[in-house]
Structure formats: structure tokens, C-alpha cells
């Protein structure tokens, strides 16, 4: 995700925010373009109607298509809004399942562009943690981005969430290459920094990002960072 230069965590988080908002606004723009075109088609069909050939079936179909795309647009806006609000609180109790689903929604376009897919495996029960929601989203995004970079085109990245007793496990695996980037990869350095902020552990530890990868997140960030400070 970086262009080679080492980033501070703050720069990395800002870049993450920009990448996601740019992508979602691009998707919204695309759907608005479709709605605009469908609206133009409705006008064309109405003009035909005024000329005597009233194509009611086609008009009905076009209206339904406008409605479907409005729903798509509303969904993108909902995701964008939830993403923007993830930075509201420095620390909060949140369900990691919901964050993973938000991550899946925000990264869908990047996967589509590679014709790849992100398969998410979630436990049935909620996975509630006290954490920093935005930095956690950033960490997950970084990890998924690295996995997507390592995956082959049309490949699959698998993310599985597991509730351990005092920690939450997120495993990422990818079909294709098992490592990505250069030794001492700047992206790896950012990933390590993002883990440290949350008191999380990144496995395997090494000088290269490799898959399968596991991230262990403390259930209570305050408790975890307090223990680390001692």
C-alpha cells in the first residue's frame, strides 16, 4: 500500500482513510452515473410515449432498475457513514464481527478490480472487545491488503475470526504466493506499528509479510497495554 518510503502510523492511518473514502465515493459516483443514464432512458421512453408508442413495460422495467440502483447507492452511503464514524471514539466496546463485515464492504471494490474474493468466516456469537475501533480497522485493512497483494488474480483471501478466551484470533490465508514484498518491507513495518498500538501480536514474526498470517488482538486493550507497560 505504501510507495516505498517508511510511514509514521499517523500517515498510514490518514492514507487508509483517504483510500477507503476515495474508493467508496468512486462507487457512489458510478451508481449515480447509472441512475442518471436510466433517468435519461426513462425520458427517451416518455418521448416515445408522447409520439404515440407508449412502451409501458420498458418504462416499468426502467423504474425498477432505477430503484435497484438507488438501493445500491444507499448501501454504499451507509458503509461510508459507518466507516467515517469508526473514528468517533478513541476506545470503545465493539463487536469484531461487525468490524470485519465493514472491512469486507469497504474492500469489495479492490477485490473486484483483481477479480478476487474475500471469504469471511465468522463465529455465530458476537465477539465483543474493548479496543480502538479505527486503528483496529486500519490493522485489518493492512493485513487484508497484503493478502490481496499476495493472492493470484481471481484468487481467494480467507479471513477467519475466532474467539479465544482472553484474545481474538484473526487468521488470513491466501491462494497463490505465500509471501509478498521485500525483506524489511515498509508495509510490514506499518503492520507491526499498527499491531503495537492495539497490543496485538502478529504471527509469524519475520522480516517479510507471509501467509497464512495470524493476528492476536487482546479482548481488553486497556488491560493489555497496562500489562505491557509494567
Amino acid at each position: 500500500m505504501s510507495d516505498g518510503a517508511p510511514e509514521t502510523l499517523h500517515q498510514a492511518e490518514l492514507r487508509f482513510f483517504c483510500v477507503v473514502t476515495a474508493s467508496l465515493s468512486h462507487q457512489i459516483n458510478n451508481v449515480l452515473t447509472i441512475i442518471s443514464e436510466l433517468n435519461g432512458l426513462s425520458e427517451d421512453l416518455l418521448a416515445l410515449g408522447r409520439a404515440g408508442e407508449a412502451p409501458f413495460d420498458r418504462l416499468e422495467g426502467t423504474t425498477a432498475r432505477i430503484n435497484d440502483n438507488l438501493q445500491r447507492c444507499v448501501e454504499y452511503l451507509r458503509v461510508l457513514n459507518r466507516f467515517a464514524h469508526s473514528a468517533d471514539q478513541e476506545k470503545a466496546t465493539c463487536d469484531v464481527k461487525e468490524l470485519v463485515l465493514l472491512l469486507q464492504a469497504t474492500t469489495r471494490r479492490f477485490f473486484d478490480l483483481r477479480k478476487a474474493s474475500l471469504v469471511v468466516e465468522l463465529p455465530e456469537r458476537d465477539v465483543v472487545v474493548l479496543t480502538q475501533p479505527f486503528p483496529l480497522l486500519h490493522l485489518l485493512f493492512r493485513a487484508v491488503w497484503a493478502a490481496l497483494s499476495a493472492a493470484e488474480d481471481k484468487g481467494t483471501v480467507r479471513l477467519s475470526l475466532e474467539d479465544l478466551q482472553d484474545r481474538i484470533s484473526i487468521r488470513l490465508s491466501t491462494v497463490g504466493s505465500q509471501s509478498v514484498g521485500l525483506p524489511r518491507d515498509p508495509d510490514l513495518q506499518t503492520l507491526i506499528l499498527a499491531c503495537r498500538t492495539l497490543g496485538a501480536a502478529l504471527l509469524p514474526a519475520g522480516e517479510q509479510i507471509s501467509f497464512p498470517m495470524q493476528i492476536l488482538i487482546p479482548r481488553d486493550i486497556a488491560h493489555s497495554l497496562e500489562l505491557e507497560a509494567r
Partner: protein, 127 residues
């Protein structure tokens, strides 16, 4: 006079098919496809007079597809369509031989005018 045959290429299927419907209502024969691979296959068969193509597409993007089209049919006019922020790509497309480019959202009258310009003086020789 034969209807000009237009190939529309954009990974957003709904946009492609809607644009094709609107062009059909204006006297063109239009077909939409959602990938560069499908477009190249149809161009190879020589079934179209103008290609209208999105610059940003998954897999083979619009510029790579433009190069391939120019290899197969150097004289086939290609109109590029680009979104906000992809202006430089469109300029590059012109240097690669694209006929013109349009910014999204495309105004149908602008597209129709360009299609007439692109087919003007060209023999549209089909049934």
C-alpha cells in the same frame, strides 16, 4: 443508409446496457459488453464501426485494450470514457490513437455527436 454499429465496453453492466438501449433509440445498432476480452473478440471479428470504452476496468484496462484494438484494427475509432480523476489516462489514450474522450457522466447528445463524427465519411458496409 446502414445503421452504424457501436460496441460499448464498461465493467458496469447496467451502464453499458442502458447506454446501448439509448443509442438504439437514436438509430444506432449498439451492443454492450463488460470486459476488454469480450470486446477484443468482437473487434477481431470486425463487427463494429466505433468502440466506446471505459478507461478503468478490472483485468485488462481501457488503455491496454485500446493498444490491442489498434494492433488489430488501426482505423477503428475508439471513444474513451473516463471518470473523475482519470483525465491523464484519457490524454494518454489520445496519444495512443483514441478518437476522442468523454468525461462521466456522459451526455447522450455529446456521445451521439462524436459517434456521427467518428463514422462520417466512413463506409458503413454491412446489411
Amino acid at each position: 443508409m446502414a445503421q452504424p454499429r457501436i460496441l460499448i465496453v464498461d465493467d458496469e453492466g447496467e451502464l453499458t446496457f442502458t447506454l446501448a438501449e439509448r443509442l438504439e433509440l437514436r438509430g444506432f445498432r449498439a451492443r454492450g459488453v463488460t470486459s476488454a476480452a469480450e470486446a477484443l473478440d468482437l473487434v477481431q471479428r470486425g463487427e463494429f464501426d466505433v468502440v466506446v470504452m471505459d478507461v478503468k476496468m478490472p483485468g485488462t484496462g481501457g488503455l491496454a485494450a485500446l493498444r490491442a484494438i489498434k494492433d488489430i484494427k488501426p482505423r477503428l475509432p475508439v471513444i474513451l470514457v473516463t471518470g473523475h480523476g482519470s483525465h491523464e489516462n484519457a490524454e494518454e489514450g489520445i496519444s495512443l490513437g483514441a478518437f476522442r474522450y468523454l468525461m462521466k457522466p456522459v451526455q447522450i447528445e455529446d456521445l451521439v455527436r462524436l459517434l456521427h463524427e467518428a463514422t462520417k465519411g466512413r463506409e458503413v458496409s454491412h446489411e
